[in-house]
Amino acid sequence: MAATAPANAESVLKIVPHADLRNVDPIWTTAYITRNHGYLVFDTLFALDENLEVQPQMAAGHAVSEDGLTYTITLRDGLTFHDGSAVTAEDVVASLKRWGARDGMGQKLMGVTASLEAADDKTVVLTLSESYGLVLQSLGKISSNVPFIMPKRLAETDPNAQVEEIIGSGPFKFVADEWQPGNQVVYEKFEEYVPREEPASYAAGGKVAKVDRVEWRYIPDAATASQALLAGEVDYYEQPAVDLLPMIQSDPSIKVETVDPLGTQGVIRFNFKYPPFDNKKARQAAMWAVQQADYMYSIMGDPAYFEEFCGAYFMCGGPYETDIGSEALREKDIEKAKALLAESGYDGREVLILDPTDIPVAHGQSLVTAQALREIGMNVKLVAMDWATMTSRRAVREAPEDGGWNIFPTWWLAADQLNPVTNISVAASGGNAWFGWPENQKIEDLRNAFAKETDAAKQMEIIEELQAELYDFVPYIPTGQYYQPTAFRDNVNGVLEAPVPFFWNISVE
């Protein structure tokens, strides 16, 4: 039955999330909404802070052996799961193993792991088989899939199935009875949670729950959602459309802030298995046919919220920013694009662009791409669907005419795209790569070299070589870098600046 009214003394933070929470297992899916849910319920061993450095979170600290192959991690005191049991090293080991089976970065870490064991209740020992530069970056990964820690009994679930129960050790408890998919998700403050002493900074520092209840109210219609915010029916609107901001901002009791300072990258992804985009020239043609500004004006509207141009595959403003090789993206040259397309041997076949019409950021990218490709003479068909349908359609490996696809639009947070290891859309390992399944040994070698390199200058050299190759190979078109604003009422205090919306540290008057 529906929720009974919370007692008066309870403080409630009412949020319109960016999507409906459909799956609750953050290891099983990479969906951002499930990741955000995960951060409320689960805790992490390590966490990224605002200087993009990894700090201990559940860990009290760690020690690395002299040869750099053995990591000994100690858990801090007072960690308890929501079912009352204490967090032990066994739970951590089981959780990391399940994560390592699903997550791309986790798989890389497990690939160089000789053993991962609990030495005692409080101590986890990770032994590597070879030196590896990204151990802490992996364990402190901020975005999907985040290595959340679950009780061992849940972490032993088959990585390909979803966990049956959501029990974490994070600052909020998931109220399973009140979860109504398509409508609401409810979290209650976990009284026994012991936050760290340090101030909150990204995912690191003290995660202090300052409200008794967090309620997610999913409102799919953007206009209705902003009206609800204006009317005070909700406190916090995670991703209002930029077009609605002037209206929202006309109310002085509402604050609009860009909570994620790192930004988001728009992505147009090709299918490498089928013509015409199995041919490099066709992908290059597409890149010459488009320009970032068209995308950005379409999906964000207001130039205050996007970069006029960003030629970096690994994000502007990030540690690996460079614009090497980005000419094709900077300029639009229809003639050159036509010439490249002709070289590719394009035969006029139909090109299917998946078009998730319920997500403006994705829908706009599809429309702009369709128009640009038509301009260079491609026979484009937009296939309309909703986002959820697209996420299953893009996994289809059959030919486009048999239910597959040629192009789909999406976006990634900077937190995911910042380096070549977490940026799985540059991965080019063929059948195991992200949807589209590109294959390019040089890119894979450079990514591996980057992961093993510990010297910053040398890493940058690798990045430059890699990006030049990326612009030649075109695993996807980065359609621009934009910044997603968040709107909340002035009774909401303590909203953290971070690439992930965190709901601790926030109080409601």
């Binding site: 009206q227 077009d243 004006y297």
Partner: protein
């Protein structure tokens, strides 16, 4: 009341009906209004490509969400496309969907209804099927069908047609059942006239007037349902400007630029209103039973 009509020859009956229709236009100015609006809408929609308007699909991201101006009388949408051009072109899809659904649903319904009413052995089976189909809310069925088949204009037409068929079948069947017992039909049967001939010669003409009326309502409903389908995201492909699509895409901007929903909404409402008044007028003239009422 209706018997004297049946005694006339087919040609004379047609003439008679045509006169009734003309008379009813005179008596019924709202019907005239309906027809005029409908013709205007159809004209605007199908002549839109020659009206010198911008291409309804041409995006121009930097000119998005412009307010109405002499260059763009209705302003532009969120991709900088000309709203007036889209709304006018949008009429094509809506009208084609409405008319085709009406034509298909009445044809299929007529065929099934005639069989069901005249061939008693299959009647029970057909009617149970129709009852079952009718018990599924039509819009839900249509949404499910489009979602499963994929969005395209033909799929939308088919998905809107299927739920309408049972109502037509029921209507036709009831007319057939009523007529079967009439003396002249019984006489024809007794004379050994073949069933198809009886159907075509004696039954079919009498089903036409109520069917035409029904068809106008189906058409009106189909135009609205097409918009519903697009609104919930299971309609015609969104890049095709249909009134439903324009409103579905524009709903986000309703509170800033009311026109993005109001213009296509007004065109749609006016069209449906016109079809409905036309249908009401037809019913008053063609359906003798109703003639007595008004």
């Amino acid at each position: 009341m209706s018997l004297h009509v049946q005694e006339l020859s087919f040609g004379a009956r047609l003439k008679h009906r045509a006169r009734v229709v003309v008379d009813s236009f005179k008596r019924n100015p709202t019907m005239l209004f309906g027809v005029a609006v409908l013709l205007l809408m159809a004209g605007l929609a199908f002549l839109a490509p020659w009206l010198g308007l911008p291409d309804p699909m041409q995006q121009s991201p930097r000119d998005r969400l412009q307010s109405p101006s002499p260059d763009a009388l209705f302003g532009t949408d969120m991709y900088g496309r000309d709203l007036l051009s889209r709304v006018l072109h949008g009429g094509q899809v809506s009208l084609v969907v409405g008319l085709t659904v009406a034509a298909l649903a009445t044809s299929f319904g007529l065929a099934i209804g005639l069989v069901s009413g005249f061939v008693r052995s299959v009647d029970a089976v057909i009617m149970r099927l129709m009852d079952a189909l009718m018990s599924i809310p039509s819009i839900l069925l249509a949404i499910a069908l489009v979602a499963l088949w994929g969005s395209s204009v033909p799929n939308v037409i088919l998905a809107l047609t299927i739920p309408e068929i049972p109502r037509v079948v029921r209507l036709v069947r009831s007319v057939v059942l009523m007529l079967r017992d009439q003396l002249y039909v019984q006489a024809a049967i007794a004379c050994g006239t073949s069933t198809p001939r009886i159907l075509v010669r004696h039954i079919l003409p009498n089903t036409i007037p109520p069917l035409i009326v029904q068809a106008t309502y189906i058409c009106a409903q189909a135009v609205i349902f097409e918009a519903y389908l697009s609104f919930v995201g299971a309609g015609t492909p969104p890049e095709i400007p249909s009134w439903g699509n324009i409103m579905a895409e524009g709903r986000m901007f309703f509170f800033q630029s009311v026109g993005i929903i109001l213009y296509p909404g007004a065109f749609l409402a006016l069209t449906v209103f016109a079809i409905n008044t036309f249908g009401d007028g037809l019913r008053d003239s063609l359906d003798p039973r109703m003639q007595r009422r008004v």
